[in-house]
């Protein structure tokens, strides 16, 4: 039984077909990576999964419930969280507050007008736990805008984790990071593997092949191959379209 199930998703921008009949499934605890060259429609696809863009046809369901027409906020409340390719945080909040507000969104009402929220230990503790998962616990008190780029990427992850998702949509979490930083991030994602069903969009092939249980290859909005990393690595269509000759050598 798959947790997230996508059926025959289609979307056009004018004459341009950005999503062509995409179907995919993510089982509990599975990490499903989506790769593809620039302009293949990866971010548009994750936009449709997260509710930021509406598909023209097809369906998205979470735990068997059709969520195709649900707003992004509703989907998050149902347990489908996303991180953004371009960092999207609350820059003037502290790092801790950025995460604590995500915890708050999933625990109790936000229509509380008098009790000081900064002193809610339950929120702060859960936020610290999510920060620890992202390796940012020693940055909790800083202004979010003061973090480095790599730390912003990890804050994105911590915020998504703090919403207690069932399915995690990660849109190029490694974007703009490199070297040791990227390696450390991959280690963190590996440690989280199995706790969440994950859809990962990523350009870093090393990371994808190290993490993924299953890989789908998107070219011109269409999934041309889907399978285990081994299968994808050896698929001639994928090599031709994407991986290039040096991989084959």
């Amino acid at each position: 039984m798959s947790l997230l199930s996508v059926r025959n998703l289609c979307k056009n921008y004018g004459a341009l077909e950005v999503t062509r009949n995409v179907s995919l499934d993510v089982a509990p605890g599975e990490l499903h990576a989506i790769i593809g060259p620039n302009g293949a429609g990866k971010t548009t696809l994750i936009g449709q999964l997260s509710g930021q863009n509406a598909p023209d046809s097809g369906s998205v369901s979470l735990e068997g419930r059709d969520i195709t027409r649900r707003s992004m906020a509703e989907r998050v409340r149902l347990g489908l969280a996303r991180s953004f390719q371009i960092t999207s945080i609350l820059p003037r909040f502290s790092v801790l507050e950025n995460v604590a507000i995500a915890v708050q969104a999933r625990s109790g009402s936000s229509y509380r007008f008098f009790a000081p929220v900064a002193q809610e230990a339950a929120l702060n503790d859960a936020a610290m736990a999510a920060l620890a998962d992202a390796g940012l616990e020693d940055r909790a008190g800083l202004r979010a805008s003061a973090l480095s780029h790599g730390e912003h990427r990890r804050l994105e992850l911590a915020i998504a984790l703090a919403t207690q998702p069932k399915v995690l949509l990660l849109d190029e979490p490694l974007a703009g990071t490199g070297g040791e930083e990227a390696e450390a991030f991959v280690q963190r994602l590996r440690a989280l593997k199995g706790r969440y069903a994950t859809v990962l969009i990523e350009h870093d092939m090393e990371a994808v092949f190290a993490l993924a249980d299953r890989i789908s290859v998107l070219v011109y909005g269409e999934i041309i191959a889907s399978g285990s990393p081994e299968v994808i690595r050896n698929d001639p269509k994928v090599r031709a379209a994407y991986l290039g000759d040096e991989e084959a050598a």
Binding site: V76, R77, L90, A102, S109, F113, A118, D138, A140, L142
Partner: protein, 327 residues
């Protein structure tokens, strides 16, 4: 962990600095009757009450403008609802201040909920324009309300009563009642800003898409804040009607809405103490400049431009910078 502990103490220090400044302003107000007695200037109480009313209105506006990035250009409408609540209920023989406030708040809540729900479908300049349009609709409604003097307005038979007594007929008592209302509403607004709701409101100002991505739809929280702000502003209208013993649509003209925005900007956006200070400074400066020259608006404009250019965080921002520089 150490960085976290450090900041947990750092922020409240800044918060309490603002609260200390507010307490200082309140103490200054509380001492005003003494000055009035010493200088034998009875008008000082009336001027003081007027400033207190605008301080409430500016603070209420800052709650959405500063903390929610909603620039309402129609907030004078709520001053009008407060003022007309007094006039209308008085004409039916209902004179109790608390009933007047309750009626003003209910009226404002309904108007804010309806116009806010429509206005919040827009952003930026469009939001400013649509709130202005709703404000003008309210203005012209009262202009055409001939039973209450239409354009000319109508004098009040008497001020509101307090628990059956006509205590407010004394300018001194009225002044202190207004001060008590300002302090109470400041306490409420301060708590709101630091609450769960306040955090979400500020979050929608910072990044609405991020708020949706953690499962919170900005609209409902923005609308709730809009309604709270309108209701608070109407309390200022109740005070103004009693202060002037007169009610007219002039309370709700768009100039008035603009003046409220000026007060908030002058004091420092997103800073409740600043809004109060901004109202005080704007009104005192207006009175003082008007004594010097009939072209006082020109001077006021120059002052405002200089403030915005050199101290974008307003008076409180300048004070905080001074304090920081001294350390």
């Amino acid at each position: 962990m150490s960085a976290f502990v450090q900041s947990a103490t750092r922020r409240p220090v800044l918060m309490s600095a603002r609260i200390w400044l507010a307490l200082l302003i309140f103490a200054g107000f509380a001492a005003l009757p003494l000055i009035a007695a010493l200088t034998d200037d009875p008008f000082l109480m009336l001027i003081g009450t007027r400033i207190l009313a605008y301080a409430i209105a500016a603070m209420a506006l800052d709650l959405i403008l500063g903390y929610g990035a909603m620039v309402s250009f129609g907030h004078a409408a709520y001053l009008g609802f407060g003022a007309y609540a007094v006039a209308i209920l008085n004409s039916y023989g209902v004179t109790d201040l608390l009933v007047h406030i309750l009626f003003a708040v209910l009226l404002s809540a309904v108007f804010a909920a309806i116009t806010g729900a429509i206005s919040l479908r827009t952003r930026g300049v469009y939001f400013i324009m649509i709130t202005l349009a709703f404000g003008q609709m309210a203005y012209f409604f009262f202009v055409s309300l001939s039973a209450y003097g239409g354009d000319d307005g109508t004098p009040l038979q008497s001020r509101s009563t307090l628990f059956g007594r006509d205590a407010l007929e004394s300018d001194l008592v009225m002044f202190y009642v207004a001060l008590a209302l300002l302090i109470a509403l400041f306490a409420v607004a301060t708590r709101i800003v630091g609450s769960r709701f306040g955090r979400v409101l500020i979050g929608t100002r910072e990044n609405p898409v991020r708020m949706e991505a953690i499962g919170l739809s900005p609209f409902r929280y923005q609308l709730t804040a809009f309604v709270i702000s309108g209701c608070m502003t109407s309390v200022a209208g109740v005070i103004l009607a009693n202060q002037a013993e007169f009610v007219s649509p002039a309370f709700m003209s768009w100039h008035r809405s603009g003046e409220l925005i000026v007060m908030v900007v002058l004091g420092g956006i997103g800073n409740l103490t600043g809004a109060i200070g901004g109202a005080v400074v704007a009104l005192l400066l207006e009175d003082w400049l008007a004594m010097l020259t009939e072209h006082w608006r020109l001077l006021f404009g120059v002052f405002l431009i200089l403030m915005v250019l050199y101290s974008p965080h307003g008076i409180t921002g300048a004070l905080e910078r001074l304090k920081g520089a001294r350390k």
